[in-house]
């Protein structure tokens, strides 16, 4: 279940050891943090949450290079007084901090920057790992965010929520976080906070799926809508969970569609290898369950080769493709541990009758007339009686075109009709057109248009923005008053 994240975490931990050894990069890391802080300030001033998202995108690379020393100095230089006392105790204090640098930007600190610093400390605590204090910090940070209630927090708050759930998961008590998450979800929806909404929804789904409460997950999906403005990574996650729930409910075509979209929308392989590997595992199984054989090229991709082959997915696919029951049973017993770990085990158990069907289809293509006894021997079935029922069922489900002659005990395949007589080509053609049109429409939607005739309007836009931000400020000053000044 947690495989995807754990893999990513481990990948990140390795380079972290190295960076601890040489001290020089400390200054560059601090510089980077400071630069990010000023970016966040700009984001707040211009009310462009896009800039904050850009800062958050550097979080993963920054995370590898964080150390107590870096954080201490960064907090000294950037944090407000209140936060200094709050964050300091979490970091090991044995290092000498240059206190002359301390009082540089005291007055101008925005609460957003404080939250950003808390987030960095949170990451450091998770990596240490010091989970109990990480949880404590996550809860205080969330409370602080709730208390201040500003829309400029949203992207940061979403990250904190994510790690809040992640800590619970690492502690093995994810079920306890459910009430909190549900409350957070309600607040996020009411405030139209798309970032938090998306993240919390995903956390909840993950929580339900890890508890195997597919019923509840399904109800959650039915009752909630995924916010449209949320970023691609969250959408990819959401689609992945959706695909898994649908697969359990035997709605394979929906599951297939969702997983495919999840894979397409996921970040590239070197950023999120774990997610892609896991999504592909389910994708392969669902494709098999639909009666299709996954393309060979999937198994050849460098990124997936190891995990799919070692996990036994290649072996299972081969067994289904050949239609050999004993091969299937072998692969299943050999790799059952890995299937249970990936929680694909029960799905794969359902594949058994697909194996029989492909076998049967091959027989019906090869022979125009074959005794039931021979089918029985070829497919290694237990009795001729069963073979008759199985053939009849396959005929009903349209897997084979054949009739049975009961008195003489043979199966007779019908001449395959011309596929172009049917609607099939038209349906496929329609599907492809639909796909192209969706792609076109999506890309139109995703485009950002520069303001019309840039130079003229830029000044005007800037002015408008200033007016807007002044207005916001006035409202805020009137309503809340800035606490830290």
């Amino acid at each position: 279940m947690a495989a995807e994240e754990i893999e990513i975490d481990q990948a990140e931990k390795a380079p972290q050891e190295n960076s601890k050894q040489d001290v020089k990069p400390v200054q560059t890391v601090i510089d980077e943090i400071r630069q990010n802080a000023s970016l966040i300030e700009r984001a707040v001033i211009t009310t462009e949450s896009r800039i904050t998202s850009r800062v958050l995108r550097t979080l993963t690379t920054l995370r590898k290079r964080l150390s107590d020393e870096v954080l201490l100095q960064a907090i000294q230089q950037l944090g407000s007084r209140k936060y200094k006392t709050q964050l300091m105790p979490y970091l090991s204090n044995d290092m000498q901090v240059d206190s002359s640098l301390a009082q540089t930007s005291e007055s101008g600190t925005l609460p957003e920057v404080d939250i950003y610093l808390s987030l960095l400390v949170l990451l450091r605590l998770i990596d240490k790992p010091n989970l109990s204090s990480a949880l404590e910090l996550a809860i205080t940070t969330l409370n602080n965010i709730q208390a201040l209630n500003k829309r400029s927090f949203d992207p940061l708050a979403a990250k904190v929520w994510f790690y809040y759930y992640r800590i619970h998961e690492l502690l093995g008590q994810e079920q306890e976080s459910r009430t909190q998450l549900l409350a957070g979800q309600r607040t996020a929806v009411l405030r139209k906070d798309t970032d938090c909404q998306a993240v919390i929804l995903n956390c909840l789904l993950r929580c339900y799926i890890s508890a195997k409460a597919y019923d509840q997950a399904d109800k959650l999906i039915a009752k909630s809508t995924f916010p449209e403005g949320a970023g691609n990574p969250q959408l990819a996650r959401y689609l992945y969970y959706l695909g898994r729930v649908k697969a359990v409910q035997l709605n394979y075509s929906d599951a297939h569609h969702n997983l495919q979209q999840a894979i397409r929308r996921a970040p590239s392989g070197n950023i999120a290898p774990g997610f892609l590997q896991n999504a592909y595992k389910f994708f392969v199984v669902v494709e098999l369950l639909m009666g299709d054989i996954p393309e060979r090229s999937i198994f050849k991709q460098q990124l997936l080769k190891g995990s799919l082959e070692k996990g036994g997915y290649l072996a299972i696919t081969q067994a289904v493709r050949v239609g050999d029951l004993s091969l299937f049973a072998d692969a299943l017993s050999k790799h059952s541990d890995s299937f249970i770990r990936d929680s694909t085990y029960t799905l794969i158990l359902r594949l058994r009758h697909n194996v029989i069907r492909t076998g049967l289809r091959m027989i019906s293509l090869a022979y125009s007339r074959i005794p039931l006894g021979d089918i029985c021997a070829k497919l290694r079935l237990d009795s001729e009686e069963d073979a008759e029922y199985i053939v009849a069922k396959a005929a009903r489900e349209g897997v084979i075109e054949a009739t049975i002659n009961h008195q003489q005990g043979y199966m007779e395949s019908k001449q395959g009709g011309n596929i172009y007589d049917t609607e099939e080509p038209q349906v496929l053609f329609r599907q492809r057109i639909q796909f192209c049109m969706d792609l076109h429409n999506d890309s139109v939607k995703a485009m950002r248009y520069p303001l019309k005739s840039k130079d003229d309007d830029l000044a005007k836009a800037e002015e408008a923005r200033e007016r807007e931000s002044r207005l916001i400020k006035e409202i805020e000053d009137g309503d809340i008053g800035r606490g830290d000044e």
């Binding site: 359990v248 158990l349 359902r350 069963d386 009849a392 009903r396 049975i404 038209q426 076109h440």
Partner: protein, 253 residues
């Protein structure tokens, strides 16, 4: 809570079960036990769980499916809070079996996924799992052979189950055979006498030719079959799709 315990002992012996259950449910709702939480006392939880389990089993014997499902919904939180009870696999297996009888395969699998791994190998739960696999494969004779195991759950469940299976087989036969001798059709559908088959055949609209003693499916095939599809043009679909394409093109250009 000693009162609950008394009721439990009484109804487990099978005395005045309905009365006892009603009384117990009243007591439980008064002491907030119908919606259990981690704060509740473990002994209380176990006693109430046992009572509800008896209730679930009782509604099976009295053939009341709705109340059975209600009990299951009540029991679910108890099972996740207390350690395993002896009746739990039995009741889950019954629920699975009922899903199979009603052909609710998707619910069947959703429930199956939620069963903890260590319970999957339980004898009671293995039965419906095996049955489902055989049904999906089409190994109906194996299903027939496991009659005694299903009858353990209750004779009426077996009858309902047989009914579902028969309809499945019948729809397969309609496709796979042109015609069948009456006696063979009867054995395939697990009927004891041709007379029962004749009745069944009329209910499904099969023709029986009296001269050759055959059940004939061919007419059915030709009416519902491929030929009919081939000659009707899906004009409505085609027009609506073309219009849609035109609209999309318009927006692009």
């Amino acid at each position: 809570m000693s009162k609950l315990f008394e009721i439990k002992q009484r109804i487990e012996k099978g005395e005045r079960v309905v009365e006892g259950l009603n009384e117990a449910k009243l007591l439980m709702s008064q002491s907030n036990l119908l919606i259990p939480s981690t704060r509740s006392d473990m002994v209380d939880l176990q006693v109430s769980r046992d009572i509800l389990e008896v209730g679930a089993l009782h509604s099976i014997t009295s053939q009341d499916l709705k109340s059975f499902e209600r009990y299951i919904n009540l029991l679910n939180p108890f099972w996740s809070l207390t350690n395993d009870s002896t009746n739990q696999p039995k009741i889950i297996a019954l629920q699975l079996l009922i899903y199979l009888t009603q052909n609710r395969i998707s619910d069947f699998h959703t429930l199956l996924e939620s069963i903890p791994i260590h319970l999957l190998s339980n004898f009671h739960i293995q039965t419906p799992i095996k049955l489902e696999r055989w049904i999906m494969e089409g190994s109906y004779s194996k299903v027939w052979d496991s009659k005694p195991e299903i009858e353990l759950a209750g004779h009426w469940i077996w009858l309902a189950f047989l009914e579902t299976i028969r309809n499945e087989i019948a729809s397969c036969e309609e496709k796979a055979y042109d015609s069948l001798p009456i006696n063979d059709a009867a054995t395939l559908l697990f009927f004891n006498s041709p007379a029962q088959l004749t009745q069944f055949a009329t209910s499904r609209g099969w023709t029986i030719s009296p001269s050759t003693q055959h059940v004939i499916f061919k007419d059915l095939n030709s009416i519902t079959g491929i030929e009919k599809q081939k000659f009707s043009l899906p004009s409505h679909n085609m027009i609506s799709h073309s219009l849609n394409y035109a609209k999309e093109l318009e927006t692009i250009v």
